[in-house]
């Protein structure tokens, strides 16, 4: 360990608050020597964060700065490993379903399906068509909810607060539907190995039709609020541009990859749960 010693700058003949002391390289070097620092002459290490737009406190970026210019940025993603794989080793395959809810609590049913399909492949279980269709319906409802969160909170973060309340209006309606189908608003654990938990209730079917009917008009409202919005454009356009090449090299998938101009949707590329039957 480096022995620490308190050194007053005066010891070195420097009196920093005197006007005539110049901020010269020589003086700074004398200061570094006095403090025992072995720093690069002009580089500074700066911790940016920890912060993250969605879940505060997970991402920290260690920056190497030359004045205002960032020379190097090293992301430190924090200690969020939850050990799901380890837990899975000690559970039966049925006991693990609730854990998959928590992988993405905004779309638990999609994760339920991903896990149950893996087990079904290993055990060679066929899922009935009706259960597959119910899976697709609830997964797509979850997907709409996920997109509503993205649009709403992104707008909120750039200062368009009302957008957030509009999208959450629809999101609440969807939560009510999901609630009546699965019995829970969040962390549903509705998908079972080989099928789903229960039949969709009659009123939920009617509710889904109603929702789909009015949602189209609501999307027009969102367009009106954002698509022509100058602030939305200036805050998002040419910000954090990702090229096709980078997006592929960094293994991005889903909406981000499509946003980079690559037509790749896993539901079309490798259809599961009967997605090949639908036109979307």
């Amino acid at each position: 360990m480096v022995e620490q010693r308190v050194i007053t700058i005066g010891e070195q003949g420097l009196s920093p608050l005197r006007r005539k002391l110049e901020n010269s390289d020589e003086n700074l070097k004398a200061l570094d020597d006095a403090l025992g620092n072995e720093l690069h002459e002009d580089l500074m290490t700066l911790n940016m964060g920890p912060q993250h737009p969605s879940t505060h406190g997970v991402l920290r970026i260690v920056l190497t700065m030359d004045g205002e210019i960032i020379l190097d940025a090293e992301p430190v993603i924090g200690y969020l490993h939850r050990g799901k794989e380890k837990m899975a080793e000690h559970l039966t395959m049925f006991q693990y379903i609730p854990h998959t809810d928590r992988l993405d609590y905004l779309a638990p049913l999609i994760n339920n399906v991903a896990y149950c399909q893996s087990v079904e492949k290993l055990c060679r279980i066929d899922v009935p068509d009706r259960a597959q269709a119910i899976r697709v319906i609830v997964m797509e409802l979850m997907r709409i909810m996920g997109h509503l969160i993205y649009v709403g909170t992104t707008a909120l973060d750039i200062g368009a607060a009302s957008m957030f309340f509009y999208t959450f209006r629809d999101r609440e309606d969807l939560y009510d539907l999901i609630d009546s189908i699965t019995g829970q608003r969040m962390n549903n654990s509705f998908i079972r190995i080989g099928g789903v938990g229960n039949e969709i209730p009659e009123d939920a079917v009617k509710g889904i039709y109603d929702f789909v009917g009015r949602f189209e008009q609501h999307v027009d409202e969102y367009e009106l609020l954002l698509t022509g919005n100058k602030i939305w454009w200036s805050r998002n356009r040419d910000v954090g541009v990702l090229t096709k090449k980078d997006a592929l090299g960094l293994n991005l998938t889903g909406p981000i990859l499509r946003g980079c101009g690559i037509e790749y949707d896993v539901r079309r590329a490798f259809p599961y749960s009967g997605y090949e039957k639908y036109d979307f």
Partner: protein, 186 residues
């Protein structure tokens, strides 16, 4: 046309075997078990020259194929059919060939003392995946630009996804003692 096991064998020799039989998965995904010395060459070919090219490394991870025995924690027995203690698995997807897509699983068997060639040259995104495998399983990757832990703290000593690592973890006092000593704490 798509890729097939026969095409891979023809190009890279008969060391390549069907990996589906080990897990008995019948999901139609081409699974090739390849020898370590050919791994990078094969990955590179699939990424650059194959038809279709597999531009996307959707997943890269490892599995520990040992069976922990509580009575003898030091003894490592392997699962039936396992060829070594660890499997490193690459899932590659072709994204630029219309709607007829290709998914390929490349499997390589390894043990903890053997370094796996790094795929970061081919897919920059492999960087963090390999760091995670290093962190969780203790496998090293040769040619990796910055191989260090990514999810566990730097001073952590164990590799949590190895089978012998206990479910409830190791008490921090035990884990960090060595680290604290190395940093000069009492």
């Amino acid at each position: 046309m798509g890729l097939s096991l026969a095409a891979l064998q023809e190009k890279f020799g008969t060391g390549i075997q069907d990996g589906n039989s080990y897990l008995e998965v019948m999901d139609g995904v081409l699974t090739a078990e390849v020898p370590m010395e050919n791994l990078l060459e094969i990955l590179s070919w699939l990424r650059r020259d194959a038809d279709p090219r597999l531009l996307l490394l959707t997943c890269m991870t490892a599995t520990d194929e040992s069976l922990p025995e509580e009575s003898e924690p030091d003894h490592v027995a392997l699962r039936r059919g396992a060829k070594a203690r660890f499997r490193v698995v690459y899932h590659l997807a072709g994204v630029d060939s219309g709607f007829q897509r290709q998914l390929v699983r490349i499997v390589v068997w390894t043990h903890e003392d053997e370094a796996v060639p790094s795929a970061t040259e081919l897919w920059p995104g492999a960087n963090w995946m390999e760091r995670e495998v290093f962190d969780m399983f203790g496998l090293s990757f040769s040619g990796h630009p910055d191989l260090k832990r990514i999810l566990m703290p730097d001073g952590f000593e164990a590799h949590p996804l190895r089978k012998e690592y206990p479910l409830r973890g190791i008490h921090p006092d035990q884990l960090y003692r060595q680290w604290d000593l190395s940093r000069g704490a009492e």
